[in-house]
Structure formats: C-alpha cells, structure tokens
C-alpha cells in the first residue's frame, strides 16, 4: 500500500556531505518559492491526511500542536478565499518550518512493520 510519504532521495543526499552542501541552497530557495510559508503553513501541514497511518500519527501530536495546526489551516483557508498571500509578519520563517509530524509518521510505519513481522514470523522450537 503506498503511503503519502512516498519515495525520496533526501536521506541519501543528506548522508553524503558533498552532495548535501551542493543541494542545500537550491533546496532552501525552492522551499521558499513553493509559497506555502506565505500562506502561514508549515511543510508537514501539506501532507495528505486522508490516510490511516497519518491519522494515527496525528493522534500523537500534543494538544498544543493540534490547536496550532488547526489555526494555521483556518488562516490559510482565509488567504485562499481572498486569493492573496498573508501579510509578511504572518509568514512562517524558515527556522519555524520544522517537520513536526514526520517523526510520528516514521514511528507509526516502524510499528506497523513490526506488527507485520510478528504476525508472519515462523517459530522453530530448538
């Protein structure tokens, strides 16, 4: 079953220091140019949430994080209705654009893989 996280080259690039340095500035420019920060959103707000494991990961956010996420959505919907970006002081700065949901999604995937492993394990009694 495919997941919204999909296939990505970024772990390989990050693990090679030379490649990482080369791609760093281009990556940062592109993230800014995508425009989601100008609508007051973080990158993990864009992850497609109509998926069971993303819902489980969302259940692991703290109440504060959930509230902030809902606020960002509400604000972004308003900007979308007006067909305008938010005022500059409401843009998300680069330091705040942290992947807050991805660690939870990775945990959920690890746990599901572990459950699948235990369900299909073959036991030999020595």
């Amino acid at each position: 079953m495919t997941s919204p996280m999909g296939f990505s080259l970024s772990p390989y690039i990050k693990n090679t220091p030379a490649l990482a340095r080369a791609c760093q500035s281009a990556g940062k420019w592109y993230a800014g140019a995508m425009g989601y920060r100008r609508m007051g959103l973080k990158y993990d707000d864009l992850i497609n949430e109509e998926h069971d494991d993303i819902q489980r990961a969302l259940g692991r956010l703290t109440p504060r994080e959930t509230y902030d996420r809902s606020f960002r959505f509400k604000r972004a919907f308003q900007a979308s209705v007006l067909h305008k970006d938010l005022p500059k002081e409401q843009w998300i700065p680069e330091e705040q654009d942290v992947r807050y949901l991805t660690p939870h999604i990775e945990d959920v995937h690890k746990e599901e893989a572990e459950r699948a492993k235990w369900d299909t394990i073959e036991v030999e009694r020595k």
Binding site: G59, R60, T62, E111, W118
Partner: protein, 404 residues
C-alpha cells in the same frame, strides 16, 4: 531516556523460594504503591504502564515474545508496593529477567502510549470499581482509618485520571526504585542476580537499597456512608486498625475465629457466626498487614434490609471473643489462620512481600492461645472503630446502631 539518578548497586540481593509448581518466577517489588504517590491515581496509572515501550523492546514485541516463550507478565499494585512479576518455564529466565531489567531501567513512558493504551485500561478498572460497593467499602475503610498514605485509594478516580501526566508517572517510577527488592521462585539466587546485573545498561538507573521516606502511619478511625442506589447490593465494612506490629499474629487468628467461611463447603461452619448471619449476606474477614499499620475487619455484602442484623451479629461475636476464647475455639482459630497464611504464600506476590519473615509469622500464629487472642480483641474494641457503608444508605445502619 532514563528518568532516575538513583545510585547503582552492584548485583542486587535476591530472595529465593521453592514451590511445588513446575514454573519459575521472578518478581521485582518497587516502592511505588499507592502510599507513595504524590497525586491521586498515579500509582494506578503506573501499574498499567508496565511492560510498555522501553529501550530494547516495544510493547508489542514484549507481549508477542512472552507468548512465544510461554510466560505470564503481570503487574500488581498494592498499597505499599508495585510488583512486576514474570512467570515462565525454568529454561527461559534469561529473556524474562532481561525484560524486567529493561523495563525498570529504560522504560520510556511515551505520551501516545498513555493516550492509546494506558488511559483506556485505567478507566475500565476505575469504572468497574465504581460499580462494586464491596471494593468501594474497602477503599473507603482504608481512607477513613489511615487518611493519607495508606489511606490513598488503589484505584484512580475516572474523572481525575486525565490530570495524571508523564512527569508524575516518571517521578513515581524513580521513587519506586529506592528500596526495591528482587525475589525468585524455583531459581538460583546467584544466577538471577547475575542475569539481572548483566541486563542493566551501564548508565541507567537501577534498584537502590534506600527506601523512600514516608510519613509514619497513624490510625484514626471513623465512619463514612456513600449512597449508591445503582448497584443491586450494599456493602458494610466494620473493623479496627492498629499500628502495633506485635498484634498482627493475633489479628490473623481473630479473623479466622470470626470468619463464617466453612472449612467444608455447603456446611454451616463452626464459629461464633455460624448460622447467625441472615440469609443473603456474605461476610468475609480481612486482615491487611502493612509495614507500619494494620487494618482488621469484616466486610458484609448483600441486601441492605438485613445488613444491620448481620453487622450486629459480627459486633456481638467480636465482643464475645474479647470476653474470652475457649480452648477448642482458640485452637481452631490458630489452625485456620496458619492454613490461610500458608496458602497465601503460594503466590509470587505474597512471597515477595512477606519474604523470609513469613515462616516465623506462621509459627507464631500457630502457637497462639485463647488469652492472647481475647486480649487483642479487647484492645481493639477500646479503640475507635472504622465503619463504612456503601449502597442503600437509607436502610444501612450507623456505627453506634450496631454496637460499635
């Protein structure tokens, strides 16, 4: 992520017992009973958080592996201890001791496990208690007798559970490591100690021998009534408490004397309450010995209309016992108490809690005579009684109406 900075003792002392069972067991007794909790309900939540994710094993992995090996993992909360027990077949001690050691030193207490796994099971238990007048009567008896400390309830309140957070749980876990002890059944002490020490990570917290400081218990006594018209039956607990440790063997014998439970099933039994209790009333005598206080009493359950007569019969039996106990009655009581104590020692929890003192106590109880038992009964009757009534409070008696 470790939470404690307790000193690491090398190779903890292990108390071993022999039992006729084919299985072996290892129990870790943490000083994390309900008397050590800073906030109500924390100990109950901590006991349900046993064997969840730690550094080496996930919650699912622990359960599946234990099942594949063929073992039972349990956590039992008492007022003074949290007992983590692993019962298994004698060849598998390496795995299960590693499990226990990993939980003690590297339990992670993640927030999502609290929400997804622990809160639901705590709420289930808490709601089941709310529906049982007998359990509530016993919890209230402790609260009335000892107030805080030993009076803390074993069970969290369903409405107060969500106020318990990860920091509270972690603090109680750290407190529990102080004065903790290890005991094993059907295993070799040195082997267990070695396996345990080998499974602990280098810098992780471990069991230490300094017990946490708790306020000294005082017995207060008193009475309380709780209306509960939802349950079909009512419950009344009447008893006494004491902080004298020397009285405990006689209390076991007195409980055996008063207890209406027959030795032969379906018979009326032989004792002061045989045939005196109204129909439909179940009565059990309890002795709750703790390290610095004991609660003794009878719990009556049944239809509220006749509980008053049952309670009066129990008080009359107690007063008669204080007046003097015949030789045969005393012998019967001592033998019954000895048998009950020895029977209780079959469980790993009781072995761990009572330890080596158990055999000595059993001998003391067996050697009691009528004078000793009456003396203790008379002293109890002079002190303030503990009386709790849960259920149809309109029909249930007050303490002075039953002679206390």
């Amino acid at each position: 992520r470790g939470y404690a900075t307790a000193t690491t003792d090398s190779a903890p002392k292990v108390a071993t017992f022999k039992s006729a069972k084919p299985t072996a067991s290892v129990t870790v007794l943490l000083s994390a009973g309900s008397r050590h909790e800073a906030k109500p309900g924390v100990a109950h939540v901590l006991s349900n958080f046993a064997f969840k994710r730690n550094a080496k094993h996930s919650a699912l992995g622990t359960v599946r592996q234990a099942e594949l090996y063929g073992g039972v993992l349990s956590s039992t909360l008492t007022r003074e201890h949290l007992a983590l027990t692993a019962e298994f077949l004698p060849g598998d001690e390496a795995f299960f001791i590693d499990l226990l050691a990993s939980h003690i030193s590297t339990a992670q207490y993640t927030p999502y496990e609290l929400q997804e796994l622990v809160y639901p099971s705590v709420l289930d238990e808490a709601r089941a208690v709310q529906l049982s007048p007998a359990t509530r009567a016993l919890e209230l008896a402790h609260a009335v007798a000892f107030r805080r400390g030993l009076g803390n309830s074993l069970f969290a309140d369903p409405d107060a559970v969500h106020a318990v957070g990860i920091p509270d749980i972690a603090t109680l876990h750290t407190t529990g490591l102080g004065g903790a002890s290890l005991s094993a059944t059907n295993l070799d002490a040195a082997a267990v100690a070695e396996l345990f020490a080998a499974s602990l990570p280098e810098d992780a917290p471990s069991l230490s021998s300094t017990a946490p400081v708790v306020p000294v218990t005082t017995y207060f006594g008193g009475s309380t009534r709780i209306a509960d018209f939802h349950a079909g039956s009512s419950a009344v607990f009447l008893g006494f408490g004491t902080t004298t440790a020397a009285a405990v063997p006689a209390l076991h014998a007195l409980a055996a004397h008063i207890s209406p439970a027959p030795a032969v099933k379906w018979s009326a039994g032989a004792g002061p309450l045989a045939g005196k209790l109204p129909g439909g009333i179940h009565a059990e005598t309890y002795v709750f010995p703790y390290s610095d206080g004991t609660l003794f009493g009878t719990l009556l359950r049944g239809s509220p209309a006749v509980l008053k007569d049952g309670a009066q019969a129990v008080v009359t039996a107690l007063k008669d016992a204080a007046g003097g106990l015949g030789k045969e009655a005393a012998q019967r009581a001592a033998a019954k108490a000895k048998f009950t104590l020895l029977g209780a020692l079959e469980s790993p929890l009781e072995q761990a809690q009572l330890g080596e003192r158990a055999t000595a106590q059993v001998e003391t109880v067996g050697a009691l005579d009528g004078a000793a038992i009456s003396k203790v009964a008379a002293e109890l009757l002079k002190s303030k009684a503990t009386f709790t009534a849960v259920g149809d409070v309109h029909s249930l008696p007050y303490a002075d109406e039953v002679g206390l």
